[in-house]
Assembly symmetry: D2
Homo-oligomer: 259 residues x 4
């Protein structure tokens, strides 16, 4: 089974890169399921129902997210009750939305998707390792094909979760830093891993933000009104070939397309 996972889609430039590259890629590589991290899809900060629909129309079947999913407050509860949109599963009890679900591919395969958020340099959430234990066990009742989007800052935490889940899930894919890493590999037990899938958005920027403003922020250390960059959109993803029977990944391939 071929699964395409697209890294943090940032605003309109990110959505345009998807419009340009997604369909041809799905065709050429016979992709069965498309998952995209949408935490920055609406104007760079958060997600709206409208932008969610746009991503689904572009061919995405599952949207994962991360710390920025809370940025747009209007319609958030409604958005998170949409079954195809996940937020990290290690937010505490009582927070709206869900952190995992099982999805069916057109060909009838079943894929469990888990979304988690790191804690190093981030929020005080429940332990992603222990929540992973629970969610993986739940999903394995249904399917051995399980994908984890681990939205985290520190390479140490991401790699540790990869090793921790090796042999139990099909893939642990990092998001959040907006920079694709070159460490994709198959861990023992058939778990595909990459520290970060990277961003789908304007590369002539500072992780999607207009570079002049980001530089000014570093120089002055006062709050700034960020604006999205527009130039040089890139499309960042990984393509997984997963054995449906065992859930083991056979290959992980980095994809980074410049427009």
């Amino acid at each position: 089974m071929n699964i395409l996972f697209i890294g943090d889609v940032v605003g309109r430039p990110g959505r345009q890169a998807m419009k340009q590259h997604l369909d041809p890629l799905v065709d050429a590589r016979m992709v069965d399921l498309v998952v995209a991290n949408g935490e920055n899809a609406a104007g760079g900060f958060g997600l709206t129902a409208e932008v969610g629909r746009e991503l689904f129309d572009l061919g995405v079947q599952v949207i994962t997210s991360g710390n920025h999913i809370w940025d747009k407050k209007e319609g958030l509860d409604c958005l998170l009750s949409e079954g195809r949109i996940l937020r990290p599963g290690n937010y505490p009890e009582g927070v709206p939305g869900q952190g995992s679900a099982v999805f069916s591919t057109p060909a009838g395969g079943r894929v469990g998707v888990i979304n988690l958020e790191g804690r190093v340099f981030m929020a005080n959430l429940d332990c992603p390792f222990r929540v992973a234990d629970r969610l993986v066990e739940e999903l394995r009742q249904v399917t051995p094909v399980i994908l984890v989007d681990f939205h985290a800052e520190a390479t140490s935490e991401k790699i540790a979760l990869g090793h921790y889940l090796a042999g139990r899930v099909s893939a642990v894919l990092g998001t959040h830093t907006h920079v694709q890493t070159a460490d994709e590999r198959i861990l023992p037990g058939g778990t595909a891993f990459i520290s970060d899938v990277g961003m789908t958005g304007s590369q002539d920027s500072v992780i999607g933000i207009r570079k002049e403003i980001a530089i000014e922020k570093f120089l002055k250390q006062v709050p700034m009104r960020f604006e999205l960059a527009k130039k040089d959109p890139i499309f960042s993803a990984v393509l997984l070939d997963v054995d449906e029977r065992s859930g083991q990944a056979r290959t992980i391939e980095r994809i980074l397309v410049r427009s």
Copy 2:
């Protein structure tokens, strides 16, 4: 001029990867200058005079460093007075060592090297952007070929410094996360950039540390005595081709060799 920059060398496995790969690479690619980040070269934490000498014997001409350079306290002042070892230049006045220097290649070229450390999620140092301004101006009196090792955690800070120095230095190369990124490129003005060169050390690990211990640390959140991992050493570097006249980088090539 061909410059090879090697990312954080972690302990004996890192030094062994260098022993295996450095000489052939220098020969094959006609490398003029070898720079390596040595902040983790001694047992994973810091640097000693002995390990410094070992790196120089292996063919390194300049050692840069970062936050871990202070880990081994014995002989530190002596080490940092060795002209070929740099520590980040944005430590405050009064801290031993130097953050930049000019080095000569065997062929008679001159290369300025600047070492800086990020502040996001790290220590409260002087502003790396403003210190860069000063050091770049100083070195440009001597040579247009200038290399910056920016030892930092956050992708935003690294990319922002890249854009900030674009056109003024030959390269801004990130270190510290121990994971190579796939975003190498030449910024406008001829500045080679990569968010992180990656680690030279055991890949079957969590950024160089034995994975079982790192996982235990994440699960328990109490201090652990870390041990170095030994298996699967990798060699991570970038190779730059820099125009000696203009100081502009013509190419940046990622190198990641498994043993």
Copy 3:
């Protein structure tokens, strides 16, 4: 000379506590100069020209601030060009506003006021210790009576600056935590010190915020729209008696008045 320093004024409840307590206190204790930290004076977040005027009308002669001064973006430059409003002096060069000034009391005394911000758990500013060196030296050309508002989170950083400046300034007064500490004392050399002066605002709250919302935030770890608490306003300040000739503080007295 009697100087009254009022800790972080939080919104309308804080201003009302001032209306009630300031005048009688100034009369009873023959206060020569009133300084107040106004970083939260406008609705709990930042300061406006209008609220600044209100504080001046209430009898404040100097307004200091801190990290929240940047919250209200409209009219900020104008506000910070008002000579009686300070922002921390260790923001980098190029940031609007000033971090120190000399003020005259009605009786003709001169008081230097310095505003600084901590870095531990806060922003990446210039070193408050070194900026203090410079600003103290400048002000001492004019007057030996110098007051420092050190707006900082960590007790260690605040106490360290107190010891660092002991004998060089009349007082180092902490702000920012919104909780008054009981460690007021005169350090060797005649420097009055307190880790935190505390908040002037609603005590039936979480540092000024409605407690139900603050608790929900800790339970859920997602962003919340904060609202100001209104009940039980308190007035927190310290009263200093400073020798005008030497600049040495004779006494520091904590003031905490419930309404």
Copy 4:
């Protein structure tokens, strides 16, 4: 019932302040139970079996702790299996030691003690609010007299937990900042509260550390070998009068004795 709670005992100076002040205080105020936070009792960093015994011999019946309890690694498991020594209860499952227990006073009263650690600017532990829910419910099966040592950095988190547990426990007492706050009060429902009880150790210091070294650390931003300060030991505590039947606190009194 009179309960004396002593804030972070720092090294030998702290223990000597206890030797001097504890017995007379227990006599004069007819104290039924003495609890002390011992996370810094051994040389300023951690606790040993020997120092634990010394504290018990001085009259302490229960030792609570915090983030520094892990500093001395030898004998730690043994230490934490001693029933009278608690570590924060919101460390994850599998960590040695316990976070709550019930103790009997000589007069036959029963006091539940809970130890928790904050997460703001600290480690990624389980939610102290939710763990408090569970532990309070457990202890209330046995006794309504319940004391919480909340070892935390941020005033917001401490005050929020106070309000959260108001009416359910006898006291929420903050520790960790080593500076006594002046905000002691009885919250609605009879819960005594103070943001921080303060340190029992050398006051002529930076939170217990020799001030020259602490200042140097702030100036240079490199690791330092800390040494304990010795001069001017202070004894910081709060005295609670708790109604045994209801568990409600009648009074909370701050105690700060200079030697």
